[in-house]
């Protein structure tokens, strides 16, 4: 930097300097690739190492360095004592330097596979990644792993730095072969901008100044590229997302909503919609300490005031009405496990996403990705550094966009409810509709709950009632005659002296499950509660007659699992869709007009059951009733003796 200010008025220098922009980049590679040497060079040649640091470095290089008599630049970046002793970089270290054109933040991350989580951390805030390759070795497993992680975290600019060119005689052929290998590999991944640079970090060739030893190379040196690469348009300027962080209410007259703009551009006078209330208002002011602004853009931190008094709190999101994010409780994500403690599927995690925190559970692990081969495999649970695709359900809806489109609203962290450690991080993918995603409704941890012991045994109750506790589960479309059959069966059994309870949507949805809607994720939770209720009643010797559409075969199976398969008797009302329509014409007409969604058989699938006890035609419910009553007697369910 020194040379830049010589002959330049300091005032002019400062005026120019204050207009620099910022580039955050990641360096991936191991000490063997010369990564620390490269960083050391960039810092050294941009005069960012002070004399006292340099003399300490020379002293340390002799004592504990791994570079013979040369200065070991690695010692400069490996700050922690343990790292210095072991000669490896464990954590992410951030280094800072600037040139006359830009300020740089380097996230220096370790290369080994066991430090995948550290590399993911460094990549999360970087715009660009320098991936180091040893020219004598070419593209190796590590290169592929680093490239995959960089693409997973959505970094759009990669520099493939082919280092140690001095050891291959600065040979163009070697360089070209490595570039071709890399191009072949990288077509599987989404990285729009890749720059190939041959260099020798040790000799300083093509690091800061263009190399004279490689006249065949016409590109820029590493530093020239870092200074000129265009990254500001990487931000999403199209979708306005304003996750409210803090409600500012200093006095009765001022009510502002503070946040950092996650994406999109917002202007004074814009009409906005508030999620989740869906209320609408107009932006009266964009307030900052410097005064009001006409417009604001990411990543600015501002405060918005609105024309109307609307109840808005932290975690809500302001958006433009014609450009909404997904609002879902059920989604898929790529998850990276960051904790020494392995994943427990029964855990209810905290999930922090933008400014909102709620609870989340993992429904299913779709697959794990081998970071070296990119092969997919099935696993039961994640261990430290595992990466894979999962299905998640949250207690409150999240307002999100796919990570590929929006890094800010597509990312989240999972927090362990006991240790409070950040145990996993995720990037939302949005390929399947929420209603096509699987849900998990059985609780694997139910065995852990200590059971209280009633003084009355199940046998005593069943003997008194002259029956065996069980659940008759009637499934079928809306209007297929489920309830009619349930009611006449309940009446008949009751009259004959049975202790019997009828359960259906109308009785449960008004109380026990009132906060749940008809989306597939909520439907799964709803059925889980019904199943547990049935189990409680069956455990008291009571017969339950359950009338629920329960369209998903997997969920019906999990209901059977909770209730107990020997107690679960499945009846399917096999009615044609025309029959159902004629029974409930209004509901189906609404669905045809798109006013009702999530209607099984119309816009979500109804899985016809295969493993039923009975398949009935609803047109003959009197006969169906007799068949069922006969079956219960024959099985000694009622009467039992």
């Amino acid at each position: 930097m020194t040379e830049n200010i010589q002959g330049l008025d300091i005032q002019a220098f400062l005026d120019q300097d204050q207009n620099k922009d910022l580039l955050r980049f990641l360096t991936a590679g191991s000490v063997d690739d010369g990564k620390s040497t490269l960083i050391g060079r960039l810092l050294f040649d941009s005069k960012k190492i002070y004399e006292d640091q340099l003399s300490a470095l020379e002293r340390d290089s002799k004592r504990e360095g791994h570079a013979g008599d040369d200065i070991d630049y690695a010692l400069l970046t490996d700050g922690l004592k343990a790292e210095r002793e072991q000669g490896i970089t464990i954590d992410v270290a951030y280094r800072y330097f600037s040139t006359s054109r830009r300020k740089f933040i380097i996230a220096d991350t370790p290369g080994h596979e066991q430090y995948t989580r550290n590399m993911v951390t460094g990549a999360s805030t970087a715009n660009l990644a320098i991936i180091l390759v040893d020219a004598t070795k070419g593209i190796i497993t590590q290169t592929r792993r680093h490239t995959y992680l960089v693409s997973l975290l959505g970094i759009r600019h990669v520099v493939l730095a082919v280092n140690k060119m001095d050891l291959v005689g600065y040979d163009e052929e070697v360089f070209n072969r490595i570039c071709d290998d890399y191009r072949n590999f990288v077509t599987q991944l989404e990285i729009p901008d890749i720059e190939f640079i041959p260099l020798s970090a040790l000799r300083g060739e093509n690091v800061v100044e263009p190399s004279t030893l490689m006249p065949w190379f016409h590109g820029k040196s590493v530093l020239e590229h870092l200074e000129s690469v265009h990254v500001s348009s990487d931000r999403n300027f199209s979708d306005f997302r304003y996750p409210v962080q803090y409600v500012l209410r200093p006095d009765r007259d001022f009510r502002g909503f503070s946040a950092r703009i996650a994406s999109g551009i917002v202007r004074k006078g814009d009409r906005i919609t508030v999620l989740p209330s869906m209320k609408s208002s107009v932006i009266t002011n964009l307030v900052t300490y410097e005064g009001e602004r006409e417009y604001a853009f990411p990543p600015q931190s501002v405060t918005i005031t609105l024309a109307d008094e609307i109840d808005i709190s932290r975690g809500d999101m302001l958006v433009h009405p014609d450009n909404m994010p997904k609002v879902e409780r059920h989604f898929e994500a790529m998850l990276v496990w960051m904790d020494e403690k392995s994943m427990e599927l029964s855990t209810q995690f905290y999930i922090k996403h933008t400014s909102s925190t709620t609870k989340a559970r993992i429904d299913e692990i779709r697959y794990k990705v081998d970071v070296n081969t990119l092969e997919k495999s099935k696993i039961e649970k994640f261990q430290l550094n595992d990466i894979g695709r999962v299905v998640i359900t949250t207690s409150k809806p999240l307002y999100f966009d796919p990570y590929r489109r929006n890094r800010q609203t597509g990312s989240f962290i999972l927090i362990d409810p006991v240790t409070h450690n950040t145990c996993a991080v995720g990037m939302i993918i949005d390929k399947l509709e929420a209603r096509q995603l699987p849900s998990r409704i059985t609780d694997s941890d139910k065995v852990n709950i200590a059971h209280g012991r009633s003084l009355i045994s199940l046998q005593e109750r069943e003997s008194r009632y002259n029956q065996t506790g069980c659940s008759i589960w009637i499934t079928g479309l809306h209007g297929s005659g489920k309830n009619e059959l349930a009611f006449i069966l309940e009446r008949r059994l009751f009259s004959a002296g049975a202790v019997v309870v009828g359960l259906d949507g109308s009785s449960l949805r008004t109380g026990l499950t009132r906060e749940l809607d008809f989306s597939p994720a909520d439907r799964a939770e709803y059925l889980r509660r019904v199943a547990h209720l049935c189990k409680l009643l069956n455990d008291q010797g009571i017969i339950t007659i359950c009338s629920f559409i329960s369209p998903n075969a997997n969920e019906r199976d999990q209901v059977a699992e909770i209730i107990g398969r020997e107690r679960f008797h499945l009846v399917f009302m096999n009615a044609s869709i025309d029959y159902c329509r004629s029974n409930k014409p209004e509901l189906y007409e609404k669905a045809d007009r798109g006013e009702t969604v999530n209607l099984p058989g119309i816009d979500i699938p109804f899985d016809e059951p295969l493993d039923t006890t009975f398949v009935f035609d609803p047109a003959h419910n009197e006969g169906n009733l007799e068949t069922l009553v006969g079956y219960l007697a024959e099985k000694h369910i009622f009467p039992s003796h």
């Binding site: 200010i5 220098f13 600037s98 209410r249």
Partner: protein
Amino acid sequence: MKEYSLTNLQELEAEAIHIIREVAAEFQNPVMLYSIGKDSSVMVRLAEKAFYPGKVPFPLMHIDSKWKFREMIEFRDNYAREKGWDLIVHYNEEGFRSGVGPFTHGSKVHTDIMKTQALLHGLSKYGFDAAFGGARRDEEKSRAKERIFSFRDRFHQWDPKNQRPELWDIYNAKVHKGESIRVFPLSNWTELDIWQYIRLENIPIVPLYYAKERPIVEMDGNLIMVDDDRMPEELRKKAKMRKVRFRTLGCYPLTGAVDSEADTIEKIVEEMMTVTKSERTTRVIDFDQEASMEQKKREGYF
């Protein structure tokens, strides 16, 4: 696209404001540690910006080692009054009564009792669950790895090998009772960024940062200013007037001055650009043992 891009300083400012608001929203009882230095002054300005037009919704706390430069205390009291801050001044009463100081007890004992212990006691006394500090990652090697939200256990200790992963700008603020988070909104700022910001924003700083003729004693190569008569007389006698300034501020017997002609911010920056030593060389405490900053941080020091 130029219209929608930020400069380095604007981006750092937006990031810091986001961090400060996040703490105010997520914690029950946060506090901002105010050391009277240049970084603290920048941090307080950022807090004022974060909650404008409202007031900063948490108190500031100064840990007074009782050995700060007199000009620092004067600056603190005037500035706090003028700005109407909610300022807590806390010091280790027992240490003060038993006369702990760098001349009699050495820098290590003094720092431990009057700074680290005083800080921990102050945090516990008021039950703060989050404390902002003005530390920057470019200051020192072990700081380069510190999180922005840095977790401390019930004993205020830092475990550098067991830090919470921190990705994007999503900060984990979950703590159990008694545990706390140290928050560093200036993590990504460099010394030059700080000076640039002070210049652009006209932020008042303690006059000790500007060069002036001051009574100086040379001690082990450090230029120590005679600030009061607690300095032993035989040392005071050796004092000579020299034109010096301070690059960092702390306890006067532990803070070395540098020879300088820089009496304006522009000159300070110009001097910084050509200087060959890092700012922490003027801190006596960094050199009193191997990996000493990491050790102090583990024990609870900022």
